[in-house]
Amino acid sequence: MSTLLTLAPEFASVVALPAADVPPSVPRADFSDTPIWLSAVKALLLFVFLLLNTLVVIWFERRVIGRMQNRPGPNRAGPFGLMQTLFDGLKSLFKEDVKPAAADAFLFTLAPILFATMAFVSFAIIPLGGTVNLFGHQTPLQLTDLSVAALLVLAVAGVAAYGVILAGWSSGSTYPLLGGLRSTAQVISYEIAMGLALVAVFLYSGSMSTSQIVEAQRNLWYIVPAFISFVVYVITMVGETNRIPFDLAEGEGELVAGYHTEYSGFRFAMYYLGEYINMFTVSALATTMFLGGWHAPLPFNLIGDGYFDSGWWGLLWFTIKMWLFMFFFVWLRGTLPRTRYDQFMAFGWKLLIPGTLLWVMAVAFIRGAQLGFLGDSSIAIAGREIPIATLIVIGVLLVAVLVVLWLWETKMTEREEAAAKAADVPEEIDPYAGGYPVPPLPGQRLREPSTYPALPRAGATATVVDTPTVENKEA
């Protein structure tokens, strides 16, 4: 890079432009004392950390769902059934690896590898803790950091979607193909809303580097100022990981097991592993973006001059926060049924994406007002200087919310009235009006058959044009 810059000095000035106007109080993670071998060690530790977490989370999920359904859950394999996941994995390892005759051999193997490896990559930019002493080097508990670290997670999730679509296609079978298409459509659609939800965080922190975002949340977690983004992110992260209630790609009644229908043995185990690592990835990103990353929660960050808010302690807080999201995933699975595919897509495209767009616009104005782009005049309220521009923006937002609520309520009232009108049942029913007997609805009175005109007898030539039976024949 440096040789390139010396060759083209005029280009260097462009590259060397300050990336963003970040307040100097928010430093990036310092990797100057991290040799390459230490990065390799950290990558290995991260890998082990994730595998151990996966080993525990599958057991945890099955036990917790068991308790939610008043049953013990797995308790035979090892103490408290703790070895359950290990045996699941070993079993898959020792199982026959079926490759269907119609499958594309190369892609059929490549797809699970792609999916499982991509699941691990995102974790490289997640800060797991503060700066620690590792083998005599002062290094942050983070594998690496980029100026666009948060985008890397979205990009990697996009590549992982190939693992799904290729699995569906290469299986050479209809159900995996349909499941793969569904799954990919779902992941890609919800990634848009997810990216938009993160934009609010970028606006507040002025950076896409995860270490800077975490550092900027030292005093106030972004779940407070960007609460709507948080809600949208939590919804999209469930959609992104194909979990209940959004596990449409694995609807047993429709698609057998979705894109991995034809997978068995170790190849299937890689999907199984990848799906759980993906859950950890989105949970870790949620922690980093909205819950202050590895920083200690409120009572602990005040103790001992921030002692609990530094170094290895960060790993503890980070793990606790990440596992809160994992519990949330399990809780959802124990609670909710599956949504319908069209409802799910309509929800994502018609509500989440435009809604988040509006929210991002609002955040941009609030942030602009805070930074003084919309004028400098301020007013003192309750002893605090608040810029007038901020108040105006908030006022406009409130009015907008009220207008939307008013429109919504009008629409709902209209719909209710229409439904009430449609449900209006007549007092009396003619059971043969439709040509065959119909039972009366509750509260309805049957019209007595004795009031009918006489039905024509066989051979009779009476004029019976007015009887209901003949009318129906004409109809």
Binding site: Q69, R71, G73, R76, E96, V98, E252, A257, T261
Partner: protein, 198 residues
């Protein structure tokens, strides 16, 4: 059957240890294929519920895809029309795989002694455990599963050991006395003409 390297180990302590681990993992994580044929399936579903909880054995993950399943519970009578489907699902399952024939109908045709029902699912697929009952209670299914674990899964021979076991079974079958030449196991004529209440 399987094609992994664990099958190519020489017979001895190493193979026995691998057998032990493989048996333990198969026993601890046996996923049944999502599959039910008749009233026995209702009892099978009850086993998944809180009262009996098949999850204790790590078996609550009923696999929708036969590729990922280890156990087929034939729960109910197999009609002639369903027989090829059952066979296909069985063929689609990856090795190693086991079959429980649940209820008398699956085991022998049961009360359906007629042209429409296969007289025992072992006419179309190999069965590991026959579970009587019409339908068997959920406890009986759990017992059948535990017995299956104990007898067929936990110490399943691999590689050279399996070849030896198959040879022994073949020799025993060749040496076996046909049923009609075997001595009677009980007295068929003893009760004829006698008052059983006396």
């Amino acid at each position: 059957m399987g094609y992994g390297i664990e099958e190519k180990l020489p017979s001895g302590i190493l193979l026995s240890s691998v057998e032990e681990i493989v048996g333990l993992s198969h026993k601890s994580s046996m996923w049944p294929v999502t599959f039910g044929l008749a009233c026995c399936a209702i009892e099978m579903m009850a086993v998944g519920g809180p009262h009996y909880d098949i999850a204790r054995f790590g078996m609550e993950r009923f696999s929708a895809s036969p590729r990922q399943a280890d156990l087929m519970i034939v729960a109910g009578r197999v009609s002639q029309k369903m027989a090829p489907v059952v066979r296909q699902v069985y063929d689609q399952m990856a090795n190693p795989k086991w079959v429980i024939s649940m209820g008398v109908c699956a085991s022998s045709g049961g009360m359906f002694n007629n042209y429409a029902i296969v007289q025992g699912v072992d006419h179309i697929i190999p069965v590991d455990i026959y579970l009587p009952g019409c339908p068997p209670r959920p406890e009986m299914l759990l017992n059948a599963i535990v017995q299956l674990h104990k007898e067929k899964v936990r110490h399943r021979p691999l590689g050279a050991n399996r070849a030896a076991a198959a040879k022994r079974a073949e020799e025993a079958a060749m040496a076996a006395v046909p049923t009609q030449l075997q001595p009677a196991t009980h007295d068929h004529g003893g009760y004829v003409g006698k008052n059983l209440l006396a």
